[in-house]
């Protein structure tokens, strides 16, 4: 009996212990999670509560001091760059390890390893786009050409790994505990992968959609609805710029034939609408203190942990501060004692598609001119949590990977398309930032940029010595007109890119007469630029608003620049609403709601402030009107894009009875006014529903800005309903899921005055008081002090750590 009772009880105890140590379905192991000594409870501590005065970091040549200011911004003081980046790796991992790793897993197409087969489609797509392939080449490039940079990237990885190696269960980020996995080692490769991932986030193409549109609308129709330059072009590089170089010749093949398909394929993910950025610099002659002022606010998805992590990085030679990307070395958008710089995305069709004709089903060779070229196979093994690994064979041509084939996203077995993308070429973006961090003047800035390929950016610049500059930097293929706008025939060698635009012929400007430079993802240049420039997604509003304001402003102060970053003026509404109201004419839908809404709209000052109701009404009315106008065009099952808002409004204003407005499915002849009325009816029914369910329709309440945790299912780790204004196409580009992910204003006087903020917090830990503490500051358009610190400065210190 006593044996039975002991073994029975022991069995129950062991079974219980095992049961609570193992995952059950999606539920993580309970005991390690709930154990207050090691589980999630331990993640309740904020960083200052568990701070250590000394930490051991091997491979340092001298001690490194880290001073955290009251916002948990680390200021690293090292004796040389090797030590600096080793410490940067360690410190960043302390606060952002889970995020760094998660983003590189996403970039490598390895999310299925953590969340199971529901991410398989996403992982296949990532791998078929060849991001990991690009990072392989990037690493090879560093090994062969730039061992100095590679050594620094490896020092950073070593810092991250030393942190991982001493990490206790208690300090493990809570996301690992919930998702039940552990961090693996960091590597130089992962840092490069992260930079490739930025390309993926920022670069799109609409070749598939344009190929279809070309078939649907014909050449003339396409050019009418999608002109390559807008009527009012206000480009990045001022239109007055004279191009003082001899361009390389580009020969356009005399007879062109495009692959003749209507393509019903599921397109690759594109950068989310509203992903963009602003930057500008004003010269001393326009500012109150006579110093140049630089401003930058990149707009990206609003996420927690934030994409950005603020730091100061100092050696005896330089001191740089600003926003870093966890996983990459140095500061990405920031300033040092001499210069400041910032980035916006320079969209320009950098991805092209080639139709591949395989010799036979083995796909071992494909037609190229008169020969058959051998293809290569890359087998992607995608590990899946709790399931067998999935093997995906991707065929590589000399153009790049065959993304679409019979096994992926195509309903036709005979159609194969290869992707050519600058990301698949060896490049050295990391070096650009390492050099820029130390740059002292305009020529250093140019030298740093000469290493930069992708994703192309508009790099704004200002220096203490009084220069302001803008350079659009990236590796841009040399294209004949319309090359790469549509799918091309990969069997025809004449369709190849004919080389690249030399870097010194990329559009740039230094100290332009107008006293400022600016960019907001609009057209890079005036039509006089000698090379072909095309993209589907150029901005038409933020750029004109910023330039208008900068042209008229004088005696500019830092506060003026902050106000401009937070400017809620809706230029599109100011141009479109009068058109909508005019087209509606006297046919106002006599209902009391319509009267009320139109009343609110006509007394609106066009500012999309958070308490504005008219902004909500306008955004719905215009969207519904545009939806009605392009409904027939969209009605085919083929993927297409519709004309942008600017073009739609222009057509409505300048030719309201154009045939594009006529609904082919009805007998009557419709004009723009018909769609305006349809839009108003939709507005009223949407508003009736909203008012009944939600009540208040002021703008902030309607758009519901949400800063979302990187795992969307982790809703309690997100911050919703942030009360703030702005929106897509507005200088304060804060929509519901994306917006100013970092705001910085720097005045380059004798004493550099710098301000910055981002919607998040320095800590990646949802239990820390530094996780989301910047959000309200950001939402109110306020800033944190970002002045450079010296190691002996005493005020505002949270704690200090010395690495030995």
């Amino acid at each position: 009996m006593k044996y039975v009772s002991f073994f029975l009880t022991l069995a129950v105890s062991v079974a219980l212990a095992i049961l609570v140590s193992r995952p059950i379905g999606q539920i993580p192991p309970l005991a390690p999670l709930l154990d207050p000594n090691h589980g999630f409870w331990q993640n309740s501590y904020s960083e200052d509560q568990i701070a250590k005065e000394e930490l051991s970091l091997e491979n340092l040549s001298a001690p490194v001091e880290v001073v955290y200011d009251e916002n948990l911004i680390p200021h690293i003081f090292a004796q040389n760059e090797q030590d600096l980046y080793r410490a940067q790796g360690y410190v960043t991992a302390q606060h952002r390890l889970w995020q760094m790793e998660f983003q590189t897993l996403a970039a490598a197409g390895r999310i299925s390893e953590i969340v199971g087969s529901r991410a398989l489609e996403l992982d296949r797509m990532t791998r078929r786009k060849g991001l990991a392939y690009g990072a392989d080449l990037g690493l090879k490039f560093l090994e062969e050409n730039d061992p100095e940079t590679l050594a620094l990237v490896e020092a950073y990885a070593d810092g991250v790994n030393q942190y991982i190696d001493q990490l206790s269960d208690a300090r493990l980020p809570v996301e690992y505990k919930i998702l039940n996995y552990r961090p693996e080692h960091w590597s130089a490769y992962k840092s490069l992968l992260l930079l490739k991932y930025m390309s993926d986030m920022l670069v799109g193409d609409r070749d598939l959609e344009y190929t279809n549109l070309r078939k649907i609308l014909g050449e003339a129709g396409l050019n009418k609805l999608f002109p390559e330059f807008p009527k009012e072009n206000d480009p990045v590089i001022e239109a007055e710029r004279v191009w003082d170089f001899t361009p390389l010749a580009v020969t356009k093949p005399d007879s062109l034939s495009y692959p003749d398909h209507m393509l019903a394929m599921n397109p690759l993910n594109q950068p989310i609408d509203g992903t963009g950025s602003n930057n500008w610099a004003v010269a001393g002659k326009k500012t109150k203190n006579g110093n140049p002022i630089l401003a930058n606010d990149p707009h990206l998805s609003l996420n927690l942990p934030s994409l950005w992590y603020s730091m100061q990085l100092s050696t005896p030679e330089h001191s740089v501060k600003g926003a870093t990307l966890p996983g990459a070395l140095g500061v990405i958008s920031g300033f040092n004692q001499h210069i400041a710089w910032g980035v916006t995305n320079a969209t320009k069709d950098a991805r092209d598609w080639y139709k591949i004709t395989f010799q036979d089903e083995s796909r071992k060779a494909y037609r190229y001119g008169n020969e058959w070229k051998p293809s290569q196979f890359r087998i992607e093994e995608i590990k899946i949590k709790g399931e067998e690994a999935f093997l995906d064979t991707v065929v590589y041509t000399h153009y790049g990977p065959v993304v679409y084939d019979q096994s992926f996203r195509s309903d036709r077995a005979d159609v194969n398309f290869a992707l050519k993308w600058t990301v698949h070429e060896g490049s050295n973006e990391q070096k650009t930032f390492i050099l820029m961090n130390k740059a002292k003047n305009h020529s250093d800035y140019n030298l740093a940029l000469d290493n930069y390929s992708a994703p192309a950016q508009n790099f704004v610049f200002a220096s203490k010595s009084g220069d302001i500059a803008m350079r659009i930097q990236g590796k841009f293929p040399l294209k004949w007109r319309e090359q790469g706008k549509f799918f091309m025939d990969g069997a025809d060698p004449r369709m190849e890119w004919q080389g690249y635009i030399p870097f010194d012929q990329n559009p740039s400007t230094l100290n332009p007469e107008r006293g400022f430079v600016s960019s907001a993802n609009q057209h890079p240049v005036d039509p006089s630029y000698p090379y072909y420039v095309f993209d589907n997604s150029y901005e038409h509003y933020r750029n004109r608003r910023i330039n208008r304001r900068l042209r008229e402003m004088e005696q500019i102060t830092v506060d003026d620049m902050k106000a401009l970053q937070f400017d809620d003026f809706n230029l599109q509404a100011s141009e479109a609403l009068p058109v909508l109201i005019k087209l509606l004419g006297s046919a106002q839908a006599g209902s009391p709601e319509a009267e009320k809404y139109l009343g609110e709209l006509s007394s609106w000052d066009f500012f999309a402030d958070p308490n504005q109701k008219a902004q909500t009404l306008y955004s719905i009315w215009f969207a519904e009107t545009a939806e009605s106008i392009w409904r027939e065009l969209r009605s085919t099952d083929l993927p297409i894009v519709t004309p942008n808002s600017y073009q739609t409004i222009d057509l409505m204003a300048s030719s309201p009875s154009d045939s594009v407005f006529d609904m082919k499915s009805t007998e009557a002849l419709e004009g723009a006014d018909y769609h305006v009325k349809v839009g108003l009816d939709s507005l009223i029914s949407i508003m009736n529903k909203w008012v009944a369910e939600e009540g208040d329709y002021s703008w902030a309440n309607y758009k519901r800005t949400t800063i979302q945790h990187l795992v969307p299912d982790f809703k309690p780790f997100s911050v919703g309903n942030v009360y703030t204004g702005g929106g897509s196409g507005i200088v304060n580009a804060t929509g519901s899921r994306h917006g100013a992910s970092w705001r910085m204003v720097v005045e380059l006087g004798n004493e550099i005055q710098a301000f910055g903020v981002y919607p998040g917090g320095q800590s990646g830990n949802p239990g820390s008081r530094f996780y989301d503490n910047f959000i309200s500051t950001w939402a109110n358009g306020e800033y944190l002090n970002f002045n450079l610190r010296t190691p002996d400065q005493q005020e505002g210190v949270l704690f200090k750590t010395t690495f030995n």
């Binding site: 006593k2 002991f6 009880t9 022991l10 105890s13 000594n37 409870w41 993640n43 309740s44 904020s46």
Partner: protein, 123 residues
């Protein structure tokens, strides 16, 4: 008395051994303590259960109070349990069960290996 001693020592084990060892090491420790102290079976179960349960509840409340962190509430919501207090309770119940069965195993083990008294006068 033995029950109270076991409870107190189990709490101490959770607080001092817990931070440097996994929960299952603490379970083994409670089993050993229970075999050494040797209360009756009910006392052993309750002593180990209250010791580990109270230890875990106490620690989680202590962490909650000293950090004022929103994490327990966020985790509670994420796990569909509502608030952080529910999680404190869940943590306590888990500790209670683990501690109780460990202690009971310990005491039953000692009973099993206890030498059967020989030469007892049987009348």
């Amino acid at each position: 008395m033995r029950f109270i001693l076991l409870t107190i020592l189990s709490v101490l084990l959770v607080v001092f051994l817990g931070p440097i060892a996994s929960f299952w090491v603490v379970m083994i420790g409670i089993g050993l303590l229970s075999a050494l102290i040797f209360p009756n079976s009910f006392g052993a179960f309750m002593g180990g259960a209250l010791g580990m349960g109270l230890g875990w509840v106490g620690l989680s409340i202590y962490i909650g109070l000293t950090t004022a962190s929103p994490l327990p509430d966020r985790m509670g919501e994420l796990m569909g349990l509502g608030s952080g207090m529910t999680l404190v309770a869940a943590t306590g119940v888990l500790g209670f069960l683990l501690g109780g069965f460990s202690a009971l195993s310990g005491v039953l083990f000692r009973k099993m290996i206890r030498p059967v008294p020989q030469n007892v006068y049987k009348g």
